[in-house]
């Protein structure tokens, strides 16, 4: 049976089980939109800016583990999507982004709305394709999903010229695909795994450091069992929060630049570091020279290029985190060796002393709302069970520090690229995936304005997102750095001419609230959460000069923290 490219496209998406396509129409994708219009298997979600389409697809992917799908037109449609594609790339999020392209005959002629999509996205995708023959379309789409979701996941762009959508070809969707040039590792090396077990059982001061790879690999369960079996202290990166229950005694909080004192000190002083699905990011490591000076390092990662990229490791294991952890658990159960109980007692005693510093403490007075207090109250009011997205800046760090995630896939933020404007559209993607769950977007008055147009999308689809705007009138993290490192010269970090967020929300048909007194925080949150079917924009006027502590300044060692 012969079908047009556009019909093939829609069939392929249905075959892949795609529920939602986040996108925005335009000239080059009109045939595809026409095909989407005439079917009901795949639901298209119309955003108000292509960047939001990518973030929404990304949020959907992070919350569900399934690939997010984007459809945008050529030229500006594609370039607007680049920020979101790069965001997904940096955090290894499975995504397939379809971009329209001018007809093949016009490629290279500087045609209307033409841009070299494959060229522009090349450095920020796992792979990309330009479809030049409609006969290749189905297989290319299959490949795109395969590449995006296997190995170390990531975004894949498929650029489809307009004439490819209208040409006809016999339709056959390949069930399976194999590529001679792409064979992701499916298991860790048994000898390396055995070596790692021996090393970790010989530790006197062990430390588990786990990242987003655990969430992506769906390995939260084996990780939790593994950590409990060993009884070792564990820290999560910003991307890894929720992979290990934050309320558990063994959990030392997040590590890194704004990590806890106990997590960073335990990292600095450990003798065996077990890094799992983490990539030794500069915001974690600080100064490489001063990083974990006494530790031998085990590193489990699906991506060989992540191993020994910044920090030399002693026992590398390339493999999927869940498979390797399960294998390790099996070995741990078989062996008669156990962790050194005496050493562990001393190590935990030391850690408890660090923990007693209570590095996240703050004082909430009766006058000015502390941002930390809002996040803590949100945690309390939602019982810790909400999906929380965030934008980028101080509010992101407060959210990471004070909302205790006990489950994976609940904490959704742009860790790698640090994309302001991410949180709100990402929350839309999560809410589409889980219409009955509470989805809160913790943001600031700077970030929210970067994708605020999506209030309109939320109205169209009745998305009851709860926006927690920590409004301090400053680009808080920029202001904090200027206070610490630029002698208080606050260049462009003050937000003037802010809108009345309450009226703004109302003008889109949502509920707006402004909260100015600490005493009203909890009540307002309860009231908002009770409005199950409404988007509530909560504008919290918070302390203008609050800083995020502790802080490891860029270039310092993990033990060189600025405390309150």
């Amino acid at each position: 049976m012969e079908l047009t490219g556009a019909d093939i496209f829609v069939r392929c998406l249905a075959e892949e089980g795609v529920e939602f396509v986040f996108g925005y129409p335009g000239g080059a994708v009109l045939p595809i939109y026409d095909a989407l219009y005439q079917q009901d298997k795949v639901q298209h979600i119309l955003v108000r800016h292509e960047q939001a389409a990518t973030h929404a697809a990304d949020g959907y992917a992070r919350a569900t583990g399934k690939p997010g799908v984007v459809l945008v037109t050529s030229g500006p449609g594609a370039t607007n999507a680049v920020t979101g594609i790069a965001t997904a790339y940096m955090d290894s999020i499975p995504m397939v982004a379809f971009t329209g392209q001018v007809p093949t005959a016009m490629i290279g002629n500087d045609a209307f709305q033409e841009v070299d999509n494959v060229g522009i996205t090349r450095p920020c995708v796992k792979h990309n394709f330009l479809v030049k023959d409609v006969n290749d379309l189905a297989e290319t789409i299959k490949k795109a999903f395969y590449i995006a979701t296997t190995g170390r996941p990531g975004p894949v762009v498929v650029d489809i010229p307009k004439d490819i959508s209208t040409h006809k070809a016999p339709y056959k969707y390949p069930r399976r695909i194999s590529m001679r040039s792409y064979n992701p590792v499916t298991r860790g090396h048994p000898r390396q795994i055995k070596k790692a077990i021996e090393l970790m059982l010989s530790a006197k001061r062990p430390m588990l450091y786990t990242g987003g790879g655990v969430v992506l690999s769906n390995a939260s369960k084996p990780l939790t069992e593994f950590a409990r079996k060993l009884g070792y202290p564990i820290t999560n990166t910003l991307m890894g929060l929720g992979a290990y229950p934050a309320t558990d005694r063994q959990f030392l909080g997040m590590l890194g630049m704004h990590g806890t004192y106990e997590a960073n000190m335990a990292m600095h002083n450990c003798d065996v570091l077990i890094a799992i699905g983490a990539r030794f990011d500069d915001r974690v490591v600080g100064n490489v020279e001063k990083f974990c000076p006494t530790a031998r390092i085990i590193h489990i990662d699906i991506d060989p290029a992540s191993i020994s990229k910044t920090v030399k490791v002693d026992v590398p294991i390339v493999g999927p985190v869940d498979q390797v952890l399960k294998e390790m658990l099996k070995l741990l159960k078989e062996t008669s060796d156990t962790p050194d109980a005496t050493a562990m007692q001393a190590w935990w005693k030391q850690i408890e002393e660090w923990r007693a510093m209570d590095c996240l403490k703050y004082t909430q007075d009766d006058e000015v709302i502390k941002p930390q207090y809002v996040v803590e109250s949100l945690y309390k009011v939602t019982g810790g069970g909400a999906y929380v997205t965030s934008d980028v800046g101080q509010h992101q760090m407060f959210a990471a520090q004070f909302y205790k995630f006990d489950q994976p896939n609940r904490w959704i933020n742009s860790g790698g690229l640090g994309t302001m404007g991410f949180g709100f559209p990402a929350a839309m993607g999560v809410q589409f995936a889980f219409p009955d769950e509470t989805v809160a977007c913790i943001t600031g008055e700077g970030s929210i304005q970067m994708c605020i147009q999506e209030l309109s999308t939320c109205r169209q689809y009745s998305l009851p997102i709860k926006i927690i705007n920590l409004n301090n009138g400053y680009l808080g993290m920029v202001r904090q750095w200027q206070e610490f490192f630029y002698q208080g010269r606050y260049a462009m970090s003050y937000m003037e001419s802010l809108p009345d967020f309450v009226k703004l929300a109302e003008s889109y048909g949502h509920v707006g609230m402004q909260i100015t007194r600490p005493a009203d925080v909890e009540g307002a949150l309860k009231e908002a959460m009770a409005m199950k079917d409404r988007l509530v924009f909560m504008d919290f006027l918070t302390d203008k000069t609050e800083n995020v502590y502790p802080m490891v300044p860029a270039g310092a060692g993990q033990n060189e923290m600025i405390l309150v």
Binding site: R122, P123, H127, R180, S181, Y182, A305
Partner: protein, 163 residues
């Protein structure tokens, strides 16, 4: 240290720019790069000369392997290998200098492939060092044009880079 990395990749449009883009994005340097299809038209073979510390070379090979279009690669410095580069060089050769240039070309086992009354064009093959050395022995003002192919490499003996 200088490394010769041979890469077999899918003969797709844009494959070359993926490699070139990787090098510029990550700040690695490329000394030379040469690419052509192999006996299997679906495969291209690229030879790339780069330099860096062992850690950087390790990252380069890992990052190259990560490219979806890369099927296989080999760092020639990990095995006995032969490297060759070809140069075409146009040299002024008139009067007394004519014999001198001819003699030098013979010493370097070069072939004169084009002649005019006051020019020789010489074809020379060898390691990059040998080609450098030939350029150095010529009088700089006599050199009109130099074209070099970039380095190619192949492992000695049974070892081979193939699918």
């Amino acid at each position: 240290m200088r490394h010769i990395i041979s890469i077999l990749m899918e003969n797709e449009s844009g494959a070359l720019s993926r490699v070139a883009g990787l090098f510029s994005a990550r700040g690695y340097n490329i000394e030379s790069l040469t690419v052509a299809t192999t006996e299997d038209p679906s495969l291209s073979r690229m030879t790339l000369v780069t330099s860096g510390t062992e850690d950087i070379i390790e990252q380069i090979t890992k990052q190259l392997n990560k490219l979806i279009d890369v099927v296989k690669l080999m760092d020639m410095y990990e095995c006995a290998h032969i490297e060759r580069e070809m140069m075409l060089i146009k040299v002024r050769a008139s009067d007394a200098g004519r014999d001198e240039v001819k003699r030098l070309a013979e010493i370097y086992r070069g072939r004169i492939i084009d002649v005019t009354s006051n020019l020789f064009t010489i074809e020379l093959t060898g390691t990059s060092d040998k080609l450098d050395s030939f350029v150095e022995v010529l009088e700089p003002s006599d050199i009109i044009e130099v074209v070099r192919s970039g380095v190619m490499g192949i492992a000695r003996g049974e070892k081979a880079l193939r699918v």
